[in-house]
Chain length 425, copies 2
């Protein structure tokens, strides 16, 4: 989708935003592979699209039917709304967060956006980029790998900066975990804002409470807001497999999404945080798209107020993916050679597993192609290091494996993966 | 919502996008007035929010019920979609435009966006702004007044440029009409793109077919795309009260909205135009918000395929507002003094009337406050001249009057308006 040989001249921002960043480039190859091989049986572990879970679908169907039966339906779809969001949804979030987390917040501490990607887009450009005097304000990702979409949120190509993590390795168990490397991490005067996902897409890592507090304190020193992407966190979809506490603070914006709670098609993001930051983002939203869709907002209102969304999250959504993670771990432990230096990231949450193949004799992309030949599709890991300037061999030694495949496919696909990996070393 | 005294430092873009442009500033005063005077009877002609028309509400209720009954419901709300849009909607638009306008287009000529404001945001920043070498690319509004929202779509404050129109005045009839002033209009090497609304918000003006073709030809000379904001045009909501033909061309992007066809809450914009431009906008959309809400897209698919939306538009939506316009014209002709130089813009479409009070002895904002004292609320016209650099007394002599009030309110409110206007001259 390059516009280099184009008739119409794009601006600098236009040229930048015309690039499909990160995983989207590889997705084109995957879609083409699936299309050409439509009679082949694939073990497709590339999906970022969550599965439709019947109980969750039923929840959204019930709330849709209820909305349709109300007079308010006309008001919801047939009127423009305020940019900040559908008022009953804002009230629901305030009430839920007050009782659930004991937070002292008002409706001024909540903003609804058209999906959480747009929230990071507003944040990245309102706080990152350049000042009037030309000095840079970086968007700091304190630990990579992290969500590939952060690579595309700034209208400038040079302001996202991510840092190499520290690795905690359990050699015997073939497990590892990333930690922020506080010795190297720079959150300084030139930091505009900080963004990270917790639980993390793609690794399933959950930064510890202490790590989050330390990052927030560093950012507070330079008055930088910290956006914590909680798309997989509690209270919904609650895709944390380890205990975790959402952390709030005077410079923390807790960012939620409905996409992994069964409503990705509707594009609803929710931010909870300091009023000043939310007002800036609200103005950005107002100027660029007016407001988020109200149909989804109305459904989410009922889902929160009834308590059913949080309940389904812990009783259905979390166990569903946690079970997939266990199947994957069993398969890897069973099929992968004990004597090779493979390390699975600790499965602390989200809907992906992250496999590091230390000293891999080929690149992750080469391995991706070899796996395709055996009908196994994964996502090469190199696209999940947006903003990492220095070379690091680790970036081409990882694979992202989606937990959305059927159980039997997971087992068979990982058996094939183990065999390919063995042949490569 | 200024962030001048803020704790968190915004970037240059952040400071710019934190400004609420145009009509939104005055809307705060209006909302406050209505809140404080909640026991007063107001003749409120400020609304930009379309009315809920029962037949139109019924249409969207029917399609929602039908979607809910389908298995596809889960796929629509429960899965991420492609950025370009919900495939059946794209096919519906292609098929409709082929048969309706005889266009030779494919699915590559259609893009769905989360409302049409976001479409102009992508367009303004992908084609307007600055090139890599620092040279400017202007967003040209060939005729002002025009939609106030164009003032906020660029991340730069200095790139929107609009031009003074020519006025065709019918003295006796107290009517007038704007035309592009081709003698002064500059569409040149520094033009990044051209945007205008047709029918126009706020004036109800419909540029003639020849004017549109001439503008497109001028832009073609410098390879600039032309975005024609057809939010009030045919085939839906068909809020043109005069005959008009949608114009297509190799550098024209025909931009539609569902907001005046009963679905503003759902945020659906549709662009039909050259593939190269739509691919650029699609990438921008992908990076900034992934895709538009699919629930609304699914409803619109059925509304187009069944032909019901176009039918309701001409049989219900258009006559509804056309009748309001006639009531307004009768009231003004009856109550306004014959000897004063007042001129109503020809009501060729949209949901507003535009009144020019030539040689008005006070400003439009002062008149707005005087009218409020008599319980009449209109929108002062000065906010509808985004990007006009040169001073022009005309900009503070106009009022926008919404056609959304009840018939009796229109008549009584305009009687009061006539009385206030008389007292001011």
């Amino acid at each position: 989708m390059s516009t280099n040989l184009s008739k119409f001249r794009t601006s600098k921002i236009g040229a930048r935003m015309s690039q499909l960043t990160g995983v989207r480039a590889i997705m084109k190859d995957i879609i083409e592979t699936l299309r050409l091989g439509k009679d082949r049986k694939f073990y497709n572990f590339s999906a970022g699209n969550p599965l439709i879970i019947p109980e969750v679908e039923q929840l959204w169907r019930e709330f849709t039917a209820a909305l349709l039966a109300k007079k308010d339906f006309a008001n919801v779809v047939g009127r423009y709304g305020g940019t900040q969001g559908y008022e009953p949804l804002i009230e629901a979030v305030v009430s839920d967060f007050k009782s659930r987390f004991g937070l002292n917040i008002t409706e001024r501490n909540v903003l609804i956006t058209p999906g959480s990607q747009s929230l990071y887009f507003y944040a990245a450009n309102a706080y990152g980029g350049y000042l009037e005097d030309g000095s840079i304000r970086r968007i700091v990702l304190p630990l990579c790998p992290d969500y590939t979409g952060y690579g595309g949120v700034s209208v400038y190509s040079d302001v996202v900066k991510s840092f190499r993590p520290a690795l905690e390795i359990e050699e015997e168990q073939h497990r590892f975990k990333y930690h922020p490397n506080f010795d190297d991490l720079e959150i300084a005067e030139d930091t505009g804002c900080v963004i990270f996902s917790r639980p993390s897409n793609p690794t399933g890592n959950v930064l510890t409470d202490d790590e989050v507090r330390q990052l927030a304190a560093m950012a507070e020193q330079v008055n930088a807001p910290v956006f914590i992407d909680s798309a997989y966190g509690p209270p919904f979809p609650a895709l944390n497999f380890t205990e975790m506490t959402p952390i709030f603070g005077s410079n923390i914006i807790h960012c939620m999404s409905l996409s992994k709670a069964g409503l990705p098609g509707e594009r609803i993001g929710i931010a909870v945080g300091p009023e000043e930051v939310l007002q800036t983002l609200e103005c950005f939203e107002s100027n660029s798209c007016i407001h988020a869709s109200r149909f989804g907002q109305a459904l989410v209102t009922e889902a929160i107020n009834s308590g059913k969304l949080a309940e389904l999250s812990t009783k259905v959504i979390r166990p569903f993916y946690k079970s997939k993670m266990q199947i994957l771990e069993q398969a890897l432990d069973h099929f992968m050679p004990k004597d090779l230096p493979w390390f699975l990231h600790k499965g602390e949450g989200a809907i992906f597993a992250w496999l590091w193949l230390k000293d891999l004799p080929c690149t992750d992309v080469e391995l991706y192609h070899k796996l395709k030949e055996q009908d196994v599709i994964v996502v090469p890991g190199n696209t999940f290091f947006p903003g990492l300037a220095e070379p690091w061999s680790h970036t081409s030694q990882c694979l992202r494996i989606s937990l959305t495949a059927p159980d039997a496919d997971l087992t068979e696909g990982l058996k094939r993966l183990a065999s390919v990996v063995k042949s490569v070393y």
